[in-house]
Symmetry: C2
Subunit: 266 residues, 2 copies
Amino acid sequence: MDAMPPPSRPVAGAEVPPGAALLPVTVDVVALTVRDDALHVLLVERGVEPFRGALALPGGFVLPGEGLAAAATRELAEEAGIAPPGYLEQLGTYGPLGRDPRGPVLSVAYLLLAPDFGLVRAGSDAAGAAWHPVADVLDPGALGFDHGRILADGVERARSKLEYSPLATAFCGPEFTVAELRRVYEAVWGVRLDPRNFSRKATGTPGLLVETGRFTSGGAGRPAALYRAAVRAPGIQGVGGSAATGDDGPASVPVVLDPPLLRPRS
Amino acid sequence: MDAMPPPSRPVAGAEVPPGAALLPVTVDVVALTVRDDALHVLLVERGVEPFRGALALPGGFVLPGEGLAAAATRELAEEAGIAPPGYLEQLGTYGPLGRDPRGPVLSVAYLLLAPDFGLVRAGSDAAGAAWHPVADVLDPGALGFDHGRILADGVERARSKLEYSPLATAFCGPEFTVAELRRVYEAVWGVRLDPRNFSRKATGTPGLLVETGRFTSGGAGRPAALYRAAVRAPGIQGVGGSAATGDDGPASVPVVLDPPLLRPRS
DNA sequence: CGGGGTTCTCGTCAAGCTGACATCAAAGCC
DNA sequence: GGCTTTGATGTCAGCTTGACGAGAACCCCG
């Protein structure tokens, strides 16, 4: 669907009722990763008004003939410099009133859970994207527009996703250890988990891990068994075949963890 | 926010980049209720093309100067005849490509969990709204547009909501018995629950029920204790004060059930 | 080469929760 | 008054959870 040509008329609505509003639509992405045992979010420094100089989520306007998910991946590729791996799902829609000083704008937010991929032009360009610790920018007002609220919603969505879906593996590389997976949970939830109980739970939960038979080497301590994700997250690049018509609804969870991995209750 | 006057220029986008698409936006509502121990959805029979004569979710185009949630409540009021009670939250956004034969249209879907409220003009008018058992219309193709998929997403959202939030009470009236609440769970999940275990769990979960001290009378069997919802669902009518700026993001869950009420696993 | 430190893996055990089921209580109905 | 219906309370085995001990396998260092 990325290669779909623009339609003949760039502005739709010729057959819709005359009273309907025609709205510009943006796509903003909450891209989360875990680095140095802390949750990070991909942010850009805005180079143009409004909110010039402020930090904001990567995103931009949907172009004519473009789907929502396609717009999200395009903006990520433009502002992060690469087509990042990971799991992408729709987060929610905000607006159109009272969120952009230029006027009514509808914004569809997406959530990306990704391993710590490198950034092209990281921090060098004026509008370059960079990872920021979520804890540093979680207070309202740290980001332009209503992106502080969108980020908070994205973090909360990620936290609950980790409980009931195997998507914690989306933060890891193709092969990882149980300890790496545990540090993902610890960073996203902001808690400390017992390594022994977590290992028992993670390896005993069907649909989460697949043994590779291989082990780590070179690190300190006893070598750890390497695992792969039991489900390949239907992410940005991995779609492969056409997902029917332009698949722009809220992504369905690939698998539900059963029993869930509940976070400790205070 | 309902009374907000339209802005001076009905079509926004004067200051947005020239390449951005201007899209008509519709709001569709998946209104669910429980009647006769079965999950029902509010549907309208379309009176105009496209999909004339087919069943579809109530909804319509967002008007200039109107917020998303306001458009959802307005469409519900127009097509159901009243301002229904219940809990409203955003479900997801679909499109804009390949879902409306008239051209690109963005659709923001909302989910309403409501008690079995009466319908004005129920079934009489050509475009009147009526409750339909979800089981009758869940197969793809039963509804116009992509509403079959939106309904499926809404039902799945409702199912998981019941596990981790006290929103099952949104299906009940102001006072209800544990048995009524259990029938809500049974209808939404499609399972049979043991009344004794359910009662122990429901009354023992903090943040779900509040005793009223009153009891049912007149029915068959021993009178049952009447309860109220511990949290009033922030629904359509109950907002009261202004919810800051036009609150059109995905609604946050009012309270999280802890421990959750997990549905039986297969 | 051997000891200490580190990390991973397996085992143990009490406490709490879940699912299955029995028992009692309180109404209506004949 | 007995029967039926429905709600409330209790019991009990089995499982899961949280806390923690102990051994295994690697690295580093002297």
